[in-house]
Amino acid sequence: MGRSGQTLMSPCLELVGVSKTYSVGGEPLNVLEPVSFSIDQGEFVSLIGPSGCGKTTVLNLIAGLEEPSSGTILIDGRPARGPGRDRGMVFQNYSLYPWLTVEQNIRFPLRLGVNTRRPQEELWRDLAYAEHLLEIMGLTKFARAYPRELSGGMQQRVAIARALLNRPRVLLMDEPFGALDAQTREEMQELMLLLSRLERSTVLFVTHDIEEALYLSDRLLIFSTHPGQIIREAVGPLERERSLDIKMTPVFLSMKRELTRLLRSTAKPTFDRDLLRRTIGKKSSIR
């Protein structure tokens, strides 16, 4: 389970010099400088950075939704081509199928060709797993409800269960709790932490919330903007067993302070602070 001593095995996920360049009106636009990192089996890694730093692009590249302009993505040492069920993904906007009930949404992967061609007994096992996921996500009572009838937190739990049903090698999560209110968000963080322990999932988690990343992760990769690149790698300060209260501890807070300052220093100003300050001083403004 540890982060070290895995030199003999290939890492679960490995990126080697992966970059992405878009062409905007004939001009090349670098959204992602070549990045390289790897994640071991069972590790929880967060990508943090301001919006527009290319962290979502990294996830899309790993998921196979976009092609990298250069570099290779390896899953268990084998290059990944196109999307596949070995990489699960959870989106910020849940992306549930509104015409399917909660249960049908979670079982959706089983109706796809990749799964229906598998032996019958494996399918039965997966059906039981779907049942189990419904239960641990606290969704049993809502099995026959439609997504629109659920709260945001519950919808995201359905999406997580759906992604886990394929037992992916890596679970990619793209700001999954970004649209939730603060209380639900914390609840979901705790759930995610326990879930990743229970299912021994390997998770790559994208967020712009430093506190969230610190609380959840074994390791953090900090991105900067324009073009996106990793500027710092940090090891999570926390024990594997942790409660939400840990967010108040000095170790946690000092780490949070440090990373917050780091990110703030990379951000370009988007408005004229001095102009505003001067205007306040004058008191009478355009009004």
Binding site: A63, G64, L65, G82, P83, G84, R85, R87, G88, M89, F91, N93, S95, L96, Y97, P98, W99, L100, F108, P109, R111, L112, G113, V114, N115, Y146, R148, E149, R162, A163, N166, L172
Partner: protein, 330 residues
């Protein structure tokens, strides 16, 4: 509860806090943009709409009657009479029976027989009406089903794949803007004056619209639903059949409902030109005899058919697209 109040809340609060029956507050609430109104007010307003319509109709027809041109615009009363005639109990039938009575010898044993015959001949018109409804319904349904059977798959292809969009969209848009009645002479040259040109006319009038609207509802499906399908292991074909089509289902179905309405419009156009039965044909025929009251009955029937179709489509929508029904939002 120290949240700021929305303007609507304020109006509602003041209405309930003060006297609820206070007319001003009530009116304020009634004319707040997009605000809900009490159910009974809605029903009353709907009835009022019909009432105003009937009133205007009666007033106008009374004006015509005054000028001794009652035949141009029959009053609601006369339309109702004409309807009773269809069942053998209207004033027109009664007049024929009275004439027969006047002409016959008193105590003629054939009088009841003759009366029956007169009523039966009046009911024959009902048979004609029923025939017209059947013929027209068949034409519309035939053309509509062909248009849907071809239009839905082509629309799905156009909405799903940019190649098909580029291939078919411009030409479809072009044909769509050719006024369909302009094609009638050609259709008659090509297909004669039997059923084929009529069905073709309705088909052309609906098919191209249907294709474009189906393609549009496919295009409105959020792209993240496709991404989700791919990362769960779905193929491209599955992305179309398992995501795009079910997601666009309600949109496609709405398209069918709207196109069915248009099909009835084109039906009338088709039947005005050449036919020997059908609702549109009969309306033209009655115009020649100035049977305006019967024309009104046919219009009424067309309206009712439209309403029934709409009810059918809505019931279908409620049953199969529950998930898209805004009423179910919790």
């Amino acid at each position: 509860m120290h949240q700021p109040l929305a303007p609507g809340d304020a109006a509602r609060l003041s209405a309930s806090a003060n006297d609820t029956r206070s007319g001003r507050a009530f009116l304020r609430r009634l004319f707040e943009p997009r605000a809900p109104i009490p159910r009974h007010i809605g029903v009353i307003a709907a009835l009022l709409g019909f009432g105003i319509f009937l009133l205007l109709w009666t007033a106008t027809s009374a004006h015509f009657e005054h000028q001794h041109k009652a035949v141009l615009l029959p009053s609601p009363r006369r339309v109702a009479d004409a309807m009773a005639d269809y069942f053998g109990y209207g004033p027109r039938t009664q007049a024929r029976i009275d004439a027969m009575h006047a002409a016959a010898q008193p105590g003629d044993p054939t009088i009841p027989e003759q009366e029956r015959e007169i009523r039966a001949s009046a009911r024959a018109d009902l048979g004609t009406l029923w025939l017209d409804v059947r013929v027209s319904f068949l034409r519309v349904t035939c053309a509509f089903l062909i248009a849907a059977a071809l239009g839905i798959p082509i629309g799905i292809l156009m909405g799903s794949f940019r190649v098909f969009e580029s291939l078919l969209q411009p030409i479809t848009e072009f044909i769509r803007y050719v006024p369909v009645p302009a094609l009638i002479p050609l259709l008659i040259v090509f297909f004669g004056i039997e059923e084929t040109p009529k069905i073709m006319l309705i088909f052309i009038g609906t098919f191209f619209q249907l294709v474009l609207m189906v393609a549009d509802s496919i295009r409105r499906v959020p792209v993240n639903l496709l991404s989700a399908c791919y990362v769960l292991g779905g193929t491209r074909l599955e992305a179309v059949t398992r995501v795009l089509v079910p997601a666009a289902g309600p949109g496609i179905f709405d398209t069918l409902r709207i196109c069915n309405g248009w099909a009835w419009t084109w039906l009338i156009v088709a039947e005005l030109v050449a036919a020997d039965a059908g609702l549109g044909f009969r309306i033209v025929k009655y115009q020649r005899f100035l049977f305006t009251d019967r024309i009104f009955i046919y219009l009424l029937i067309l309206g009712c058919i439209g309403l029934l179709m709409d009810l059918f489509f809505r019931a279908f929508h409620r049953t199969f697209f529950q998930w898209a029904d805004p009423a179910r939002r919790s």
